[in-house]
């Protein structure tokens, strides 16, 4: 049939394109030596992971403003494990991810029962509470935070003394997360999430336990955020409550919306990269940045609600005369 030919060709093109991008990312540190540029890439990659956590919850019909909370929990967990218990980063990373997951399970089991607006509000409040707790309680370092977080121990010949090694580490973690998330989205779990998002009552008539699958998304997404937090702590080598609060949870949403809400992995990728790099090049006064961001956000919502990828896709399908089977649109 004609349709499957188009699909196969598109998939092949996509694979080639994706491969090229991947190769470029892997080879990048050979060309770019500027430490600040590498830092931007690293922060962008962290942003992509965080954006993907928002998208995962969105894919199940939940809007979260609490991604910053689990990012923080992972960071603080990993920091405490290594500074108080002397664990190496390589142990602290998986452990703090696990701890974040357990906290997410506990909190999620309560708040996932109130989907919709209540969930969004509670997630916002939870993030606020976590930051406040980190700041007010001495054990967590108070507002000054915790300094002196150890770099990762050398992994074989790889030392973690330059930004380059951190670059590869976060790139690896990012790709790993993207792979896991992609496997989930293309499995029936992803289809169930989509059903829950599009019509919870209809999903229920199919026998789907909404609570269980929402909780699953919540735990997985939050664990990924925790993992990113752990990396951040050992990369930056210090953590303060402010690094996880403020506009962070809002910017995370923005990554996903800007890139394209329906693109759970590429959307946040594009959004995070743009939001990390463009402000650097525009040289706007620091104080205008939130205003520009706000205007930008409004423009996207009002005119390009599909985000960059969504708008591109609409362009593409408008050019084609046949409807691509199985293609979902916003």
């Amino acid at each position: 049939m004609g349709k499957s030919l188009i699909n196969r060709k598109m998939s092949k093109n996509r694979l080639i394109f994706g491969g090229m991008v991947l190769a470029a990312l892997v080879l990048l540190p050979l060309a770019v030596k500027n430490a600040y540029m590498l830092h931007l890439f690293i922060m962008a990659f962290i942003g992509i992971v965080l954006g993907m956590t928002f998208s995962m919850l969105f894919s199940a019909g939940l809007i979260t403003l609490g991604a910053g909370a689990f990012y923080a929990i992972g960071a603080y967990g990993s920091t405490l494990l290594s500074t108080r218990l002397g664990l190496s980063f390589w142990a602290a990373l998986p452990l703090s991810t696990l701890i974040t997951g357990i906290v997410a399970l506990a909190i999620g089991s309560i708040i996932v029962r109130h989907p919709g607006m209540a969930f969004t509000i509670i997630s916002l409040l939870f993030a606020h509470v976590v930051i406040q707790a980190a700041g007010q309680i001495e054990f967590f370092g108070g507002w000054g935070g915790i300094i002196g977080v150890e770099r990762p121990d050398p992994l074989g010949p790889i030392q973690f003394t330059t930004k380059t090694s951190f670059y590869y580490l976060i790139l690896f973690l990012l790709l790993l997360t993207a792979l896991v998330f992609h496997a989930l989205y293309t499995s029936r779990i992803g289809r169930i999430w989509r059903a829950i998002k599009l019509s919870p009552p209809l999903a229920e008539t199919l026998g789907i336990n909404l609570y269980r699958y929402r909780l699953l998304a919540f735990v997985i997404a939050s664990s990924a955020a925790g993992m990113a937090g752990s990396f951040y702590a050992h990369y930056f080598q210090m953590i303060t409550p402010e690094a996880f609060g403020g506009w962070l949870s809002i910017y995370i949403q923005l990554y996903a919306v800007l890139g394209g809400l329906e693109f759970y992995i590429l959307g946040p990728a594009i959004g995070a990269v743009i939001m990390t790099f463009v402000p650097e090049y525009l040289r706007i006064a620091k104080e205008m940045e939130p205003i520009i961001t706000g205007v930008f956000l409004l423009v996207i919502i009002l005119f390009f609600s599909g985000g960059i990828l969504g708008t591109l896709q609409r362009f593409w399908t408008a050019k084609k005369t046949s409807v691509l089977s199985g293609k979902e649109q916003l």
Binding site: K3, T186, S187, I189, R194, T205, N209, G326, E328
Partner: protein
Amino acid sequence: MALLEIRNLKKYFSGLAAVNDVGFSVNDGEIVGLIGPNGAGKTTLFNLISGFHPPDQGKVIFAGEDITALRADQVARKGIGRTFQASTLFMQSTVFSNVFSAFYRQYRQPGWKAFLHTPKVKREEQAIRKAAMDILEFMGLAALGGELATNLPHGHQRALGICIALATEPRLLLLDEPLTGMNPSETMEIVRKIRQIQEKGITILLVEHNMRAVMDLCDRITVLNYGRKIAEGTPERIRKNREVTEAYLGREEA
């Protein structure tokens, strides 16, 4: 043997009884009609049976099991499928996707294996894809597989709703006004399909306003008015029942 038994069901909304002491039963293999003027409580009754609202009093017994307190998804897993009055579909998905996603109970491979995309999982999904296509063909929507549900004309949307319900392989199918807004030829088609569904062995409880279709299809009919059951019996009995005619004449129909 009664597949579905409703006993003394009551449901109040803000002090008003939407369903007031309703009881009847549906036997295995039957098509039972549930009729009554607008606001008589028919959809509420559906919601009570399918677990979307808990009743204030009474019992719902399905295949000998008390399912009154069960949630909607639990009821669905027991084998009760339903359609909705409004077009409740996965609007942003394609027709095929709607039906393919509707298969849930049938999966035997565990979730973690689905995540790993093992060969067994892939084979299972292939089989389910085929089953989804079969249902689409049965309802005559196979050619529209790639269309977005939201772009479909109303009649096809309702048919898609039935496809989704069929995908759950129900023993009992609750059809909520499947013929609303359909032209005569569409109506005839759906009536035929409903009969074919019965022939497959699925028991049907049908809410409908189209009286000809109801008289045509149903083995027995229950009539509600103002939340109460006012009559029950074969179509001929109901046709001759004066109270029923008065109930309809005395109220406006949609």
